[in-house]
């Protein structure tokens, strides 16, 4: 996938790195026992620690550590058995301690890798720079009171994993694929629900451009807190074009933090470099260095599920799927499980066709996840069995499927009740053929004169005469014999 911005002075390449903040799935916060649930009433899930009360001290939530290690393993990354929490100092009204407890030069997870599944079926490896644990801030609400901002500290102290990519991404589309793949892995691992709307997955994009062929990195701008995959792609495309325009008009890009305005589809300055905070990181003296041994990591490793890349490879091998189809199926763990339940012991390609086109179409139309599919994997499997044993034609199977969607009933009872069994009795079909042949002497003559493409029309007539129940394969076979000159 090549993405080149054509400028007057030449072609430009885009260099992108993403920083993703993923909220850790955990019952309680990173350093306090308060609940980490989303959606509770304002300031109802706040401990004295989260509110930064005098004398309060943080205590690490071991579950969050395990989740970070788990995620690191899922990203094939180096797990650091010794890491250090540091304070990132700055003032903001929704950050009660006056500092955020984060990790700085000694993160819990080091370098790793994420494989992009490209639309052409190929792959591309993107480096992961690091993953570290940190506290979330609270929320400031500026539009509920005439003269004051209101603050909700429910989110204050919730555990986040900051996952930083290397600047390996080269197109807005790759950034989108990266985000979706990362989300997929996090969901497989059960370490983040990946819900961008609720803010449990947030993305900052670092963007710069350089002339094609150049290897030096130019000044980058960071676009903060973009909250959907589409917006991330739009923001990058806009920002890259802006850089090119500035360079080509003889200007210079200033390093700064920018915001993406989704309504206008543009980025604009949030903080210039001069206004940038000096965070004065230093090791948090309230917390000991975080240390664990090989056995701890091994224990977590033993509980990892089969991850998308491995599942994809297996689907290709075991089910003979092509890379693209396999990639689509494994992107969501539930989709993959559904497919496997249908495909096991059956024609895998047929199963893939039914799942990827028919089932996904219904889910998209209804906007429900596969776990809420009106047609269960078990029922779909049995429908495919009815096709394989010639009880149903593909055409009839589609009708049955429609009824299954509406009623949720199993295919056998639908077939039974509707008398929808496919006619495979050659006698009955021959009778219908004879009737069609007798009534359409002109068409028969045309066919025999060489207009063989009207075979389809004959099949249609026979199907019509049998209320669609005739086996289409058997029809063509018998018709071919009957019409032979």
């Amino acid at each position: 996938m090549s993405y080149v911005i054509k400028g007057e002075t030449g072609d430009w390449e885009v260099v992108i790195g993403l920083e993703v903040h993923a909220q850790v799935i955990a019952k309680s916060k990173l350093f306090s026992g308060a609940s980490a649930d989303f959606g509770a009433g304002p300031n109802t899930q706040v401990s004295f620690i989260d509110a930064g009360m005098p004398g309060m001290l943080p205590v690490i939530n071991e579950h969050c550590v395990a989740q970070a290690v788990r995620t690191g393993l899922g990203l094939k990354a180096k797990i650091n058995q010794r890491s250090v929490f540091a304070r990132k100092n700055y003032f903001y009204a929704d950050m009660p301690q006056g500092y955020q407890i984060s990790q700085y030069d000694m993160p819990i997870v080091g370098e790793g890798m994420l494989i992009l599944d490209m639309p052409d079926g190929g792959t591309r490896a993107i480096g992961i720079e690091r993953l570290h644990l940190e506290q979330d801030a609270g929320k400031s609400i500026h539009d509920m009171h005439a003269s004051s901002s209101l603050i909700d500290l429910n989110r204050s102290g919730v555990a986040l994993m900051e996952i930083v990519s290397k600047p390996d991404l080269r197109t807005p589309e790759e950034a989108g694929i990266y985000l979706k793949k990362l989300r997929s892995i996090l969901r497989y691992l059960g370490t983040c629900d990946g819900n961008m709307e609720e803010g449990s997955l947030r993305c900052d994009a670092n963007v710069s451009v350089r002339p094609v062929g150049s290897v030096d990195l130019r000044t980058r701008c960071e676009i903060k807190n973009v909250n959907s995959v589409r917006f991330v792609m739009e923001a990058i495309a806009y920002e890259a074009q802006r850089h090119v325009d500035v360079y080509e008009s003889g200007g210079a890009i200033a390093q700064e933090t920018r915001l993406f305005d989704a309504n206008k589809g543009e980025t604009r300055t949030m903080r210039s470099k001069e206004m940038a905070h000096d965070y004065r990181y230093f090791p948090d003296p309230d917390l000991l260095p975080l240390e664990f041994d090989d056995a701890y990591v091994a224990k977590i490793k033993a509980t990892l599920p089969e991850l998308p890349d491995d599942k994809k490879a297996r689907f290709i091998t075991d089910y003979g799927l092509n890379a693209y189809d396999a990639g689509v199926l494994v992107a969501d763990q539930d989709n993959a499980a559904y497919f496997e339940a249908v495909a096991k012991g059956r024609d895998a390609k047929l199963a893939n066709n039914w799942v990827s086109s028919n089932v996904f179409a219904v889910l998209n139309a209804r906007n429900v996840p596969i776990t809420e599919s009106p047609v269960s994997a078990k029922h779909l499997g049995r429908l495919l069995d009815l096709i394989s044993d010639n009880t149903l034609s593909s055409r009839m199977a589609k009708d049955v499927f429609e009824i299954m969607i509406e009623t949720g009933k199993d295919p056998e009872s639908i077939v039974e009740a509707g008398g929808m069994k496919q006619i495979t009795d050659t006698g009955a079909i021959e009778a219908a053929i004879d009737q069609v042949v007798a009534q359409n002497a002109d068409k028969v003559a045309q066919y025999r004169a060489g207009k063989v493409q009207i075979m389809g029309w004959f099949v249609g007539q026979v199907m019509k005469a049998t209320q669609g129940k005739a086996s289409p394969a058997l029809c063509s076979e018998l018709l071919t014999k009957k019409l032979a000159p």
């Binding site: 004398g55 001290l57 100092n89 009660p96 006056g98 004065r280 990181y281 003296p285």
Partner: protein, 492 residues
């Protein structure tokens, strides 16, 4: 009732158990003493009604036979410890009116042990100071007076209110906190015992933080046994403080009376700099002789990085403080200085913090912010951490050769309240002998050992290796017995 205020904790404990008087009577006697000694300004908040109520509960527990280790003992709590429903200021305007909805672990343990809190003791603002002059609530007066001159003296700091209240018999004991000497130096100035235990011995949970890697709570009492009794109750592992050690609590009182026979006592040569006050040096020599007479062996040792301790401390402590004090922003509790309508958030911060913090606190926030800033971090903070490790290693090496170390506690006796104190560096030098142990995290205690020519108390400091408070108490007790220190009598 005055004689009730003369008792030691150990004596009062036994007499309460024998029902010679009630906890309420003991508390009333001290409340009366507090009332008569308001001039000392030792308390920021007094809690007489609460104290009476708790004393009555103590008496009820004595009746039921469920008395705790400190049942009915009237204590003062330094105003750095958060106390549930009782104003906790840290000596600062910025926390004025703040009533925590929680109780610090240490003060909770004392409560659980039956102790009766009489009030919250004055202190240098945010525990930053060695004179108690930086308190927003005014200076504390040392109950001691110089023989030949008038004028009030400082009690030392930062636990100045604690030291004055104990020395003046307003309370039987008090909690202090020590970051660079804040228990030991005022104990020395006021002629009482002050113990800073090993870092990690007492939970820091609920104590307003000054410098997290250094802060430790400890007892301040009129004798060594009382300190051992109090510390046993105060310390212990607290899962709410990640730096609190998961160790069993020894019975420190049981360690007393074992003497020092056979112990090797380190005498660090670096603590005898040129120009050391002659009376301080002489008292130190006396201390060495006392221990020798009791069967210990003095050993000259070297702690080569001693001279770097003070500058190191004045980088590490302000760095941590600058971050710890960021939460005082006017948003959630304490002082808020509102600007005009439409003023920015930053303006509220700066107005609140400008009005809420005193000069010394601001100075340390600025120093701390500076040493952590980009471009200076390596040269200051990082280097200070390295030096700190060397200082700790000095002690580790020394304790291979000796069981305890004896030094003076402070370079001088208490100075005048009105002495001009415009040189912060001169003030910082008060902590020159106490700061190294703080940086190393080892326990240290000050024992009153004698009077100078002006009749003012001087203390000797005993240091031991980490978690070896028991040896420290043994040495302290021998010094105490030998010194026969003329403690202040209860005030008339």
């Amino acid at each position: 009732m005055t004689d009730l205020t003369s008792l030691t904790i150990a004596a009062a404990r036994d007499k309460l158990a024998n029902k010679e008087f009630t906890a309420l009577e003991l508390t009333e006697a001290h409340l009366e003493a507090m009332d008569k000694s308001k001039d000392l300004n030792a308390f920021i908040t007094t809690t007489a009604d609460l104290a009476r109520a708790r004393a009555k509960e103590s008496d009820a527990r004595f009746q039921r036979g469920t008395a705790g280790a400190l049942e009915g003992i009237p204590l003062g709590i330094k105003d750095l410890f958060c106390t549930e429903g009782v104003e906790t200021t840290a000596g600062s305007h910025i926390l004025e009116g703040f009533k925590p909805p929680y109780e610090s672990t240490v003060s909770q343990k004392l409560r659980d042990g039956g102790a009766v809190m009489l009030g919250k003791l004055n202190m240098d603002e945010f525990a930053m100071g060695s004179s108690n002059l930086s308190s927003y609530f005014g200076p504390v007066k040392n109950p001691w007076k110089a023989k030949n001159r008038d004028g009030d003296l400082v009690p030392g700091g930062s636990s100045g209110g604690s030291a004055a209240a104990v020395a003046g018999h307003l309370v039987m004991g008090a909690t202090g906190t020590d970051t660079g000497g804040s228990i030991r130096q005022p104990a020395s100035f006021c002629g009482i015992v002050g113990v800073k235990p090993t870092y990690g011995r007492c939970s820091r949970w609920g104590i307003v933080a000054f410098a997290s890697s250094l802060d430790q709570a400890g007892p301040m009492t009129r004798n060594v046994r009382d300190a051992a009794i109090m510390l046993t109750v105060m310390c212990g592992h607290d899962p709410k403080d990640s730096t609190s050690a998961p160790l069993a609590v020894p019975d420190f009182e049981a360690a007393l009376g074992q003497g020092v026979k056979g112990l090797r006592i380190g005498i660090p040569k670096e603590y005898r700099p040129e120009g050391l006050n002659g009376e301080v040096a002489a008292l130190w020599d006396k201390g060495i002789q006392w221990l020798k007479a009791a069967g210990a062996t003095p050993v000259e040792i070297s702690l080569p990085h001693t001279k770097s301790a003070l500058p190191t401390y004045y980088i590490v402590a302000p760095a941590e403080a600058s971050s710890n004090l960021a939460r005082y922003d006017g948003v959630r509790f304490g002082l808020r200085e509102r600007g005009l309508l439409g003023d920015s958030l930053d303006s509220m911060y700066s107005k609140t913090r400008a009005a809420g913090f005193g000069t010394e606190v601001k100075r340390r926030i600025l120093i701390g912010t500076y040493v952590l800033s980009a471009g200076y971090y390596d040269a200051y903070y990082l280097k200070a951490q390295k030096v700190r490790a060397l200082i700790a290693k000095d002690f580790t090496d020394a304790f291979d050769k000796v069981d305890a170390i004896l030094t003076p506690t402070a370079p001088t006796a208490a100075f005048g309240l009105d002495d001009k104190q415009d040189d912060p560096i001169a003030m910082y030098l008060n902590d020159v002998f106490t700061v190294p142990a703080s940086l190393a995290g080892i326990p240290g205690a000050s024992v009153p050992a004698g009077l100078n020519s002006e009749g003012l108390p001087l203390g000797l400091q005993v240091l031991t290796k980490r978690w070896d408070e028991e040896t420290m108490f043994r040495v302290c007790q021998v010094l105490e017995e030998a010194a026969n220190f003329p403690s202040l009598k209860a005030r008339p």
